[in-house]
Symmetry: C2
Subunit: 276 residues, 2 copies
């Protein structure tokens, strides 16, 4: 692991790091905020998965998480959203290829070699975080935005033993039921829609997966709400399945970091409570 | 005035606006955050002047001021750092010309026509803010970063009747005593260094200007501290002049928004207390 930059902030250290990933076969960049802590202490970890077009940098610069993470003593990890580099295939659209890994392990060509963001987030990066940072891996939570909200929900639903808490900001709740999901999963996983169910939060809950609790914030003025995000599908499936969930429609908020940063401190506090 | 964008954030509205400035003879862009407030209420205003290379956008995205401004009911105004546009002369350096207006009214050619940031901040923009926003112009504070810290200090020292509070993050405290100041003021104002004194916080205090109180935060790991910022010059002159000032050296912090955002909430609260 190589240090790209470190900056003192809110009493802790905001770092950006890169390493050669064996899963994606590329160099991967990520950021980690480590609050001030007693020597030898191990802190809980909150993962944040970003949305379409983003890198680690968007939330690191605009997320307003550090004050809350410092207050609650939580490490904050922000990975990239896809493999990068000249060797990595791409698509003309912003919603597929680079910046749009969708947190899947692709099975289709030419994507299968590099687009392994599921295994990267589920296996490779946690091992690196455990090794390099004062992280208590018995206390992990996960959140994310939009495509990253989809990533957080599906990864948590598939790995209930790993995550004690999960939340999301304006998540894609069902790739099976929206154009972004249709394009991405057709491309990465292929036309067999049954194979998509492990990458669909609503389908996972229908199929029996559960998390202890769930917090979702969604802006009512979000331009993607009606056609892509469809929050009501998650509300419906949680109600039918008896999955406890606080799904909050936030009046007048859009899809931007102006929205995310507004509710970030609440999410950090909510996770910290469950990661005590 | 034209609306560039508005986003709901922290219960209020973060807007970006542009207008044709008669002072600079150019279109000028600025941002304003207006917290949620009772209909008809007038709120105090905190001005934030940005540093070299910045526009309104840096602090608007990375400054982490909105939570505190919402809590204390303070309007936050972030202007640009210079005129912009194809007609505006520029310099190859990042520290002169566009992005480097130094909050002066230039007297030298070819700068004199457009580089009127002093009059823009002191006269034109406040009139527009008073007209367009629920701003109580009897309750104004000012802060800024680096070149903008210089701007905040000098504008407050020259206009004690207007500003009830002034603070700064890692300010240039004496353009007379640093390479940035030397280049900029030679270029904008000319070689007569006596004419620079009204653009030098230390010289203004020496010459008798006073503010009610002063808060400065400066990182000890700031790469510009030794050669450009020279915080000790301000400490010395305040002590000699009996100017009350809290000048805090913050251990391990650098010149970035990771530093500014760490102490922003404290500055907002400090201003709010004085603008009650």
């Amino acid at each position: 692991m190589e240090i790209v930059s470190t900056n003192r902030s809110h009493g802790g250290v905001q770092g950006v790091y890169k390493h050669q990933s064996s899963e994606t076969g590329t160099e991967m960049t990520f950021s980690v905020f480590v609050p001030d802590h007693a020597e030898g202490a191990k802190l809980p970890v909150l993962w944040y998965l970003s949305g379409l077009t983003c890198t680690h940098a968007n939330v690191t610069e605009k997320g307003e998480f550090r004050a809350a993470c410092a207050e609650h003593g939580v490490i904050f990890v922000a990975p990239d959203t896809s493999p990068r580099g000249d060797d990595v295939p791409d698509d003309e659209g912003y919603d597929f290829g680079k910046g749009a890994g969708f947190y899947v392990d692709a099975t289709q060509e030419p994507w299968a070699k590099h687009f392994r963001m599921r295994s990267y987030i589920e296996k490779e990066l946690p091992a690196l975080i455990a090794e390099q940072f004062p992280a208590d891996m018995e206390r992990q939570g996960i959140t994310g935005h939009s495509m990253g909200g989809h990533g957080a929900l599906t990864i948590a639903l598939r790995n209930p033993e790993r995550f004690k808490s999960v939340s999301a900001f304006s998540p894609i709740v069902s790739p099976l039921a929206c154009p972004w999901g249709d394009k991405a999963l057709t491309g990465y996983i292929g036309p067999d829609r049954a194979a998509w169910r492990e990458y669909d939060a609503c389908a996972l809950i229908e199929d029996g997966a559960r998390v202890p609790d769930l917090l979702v914030d969604q802006g009512t003025a979000d331009g993607f709400l009606a056609d892509q995000l469809k929050t009501y599908l998650l509300s419906d499936v949680c109600e039918k399945a008896g999955q406890h969930a606080a799904i909050r429609m936030q009046d007048g908020y859009d899809h931007s970091y102006y929205f995310i940063s507004t509710f970030m401190a609440e999410h950090v506090a909510w996770h910290a409570e469950r990661l005590k």
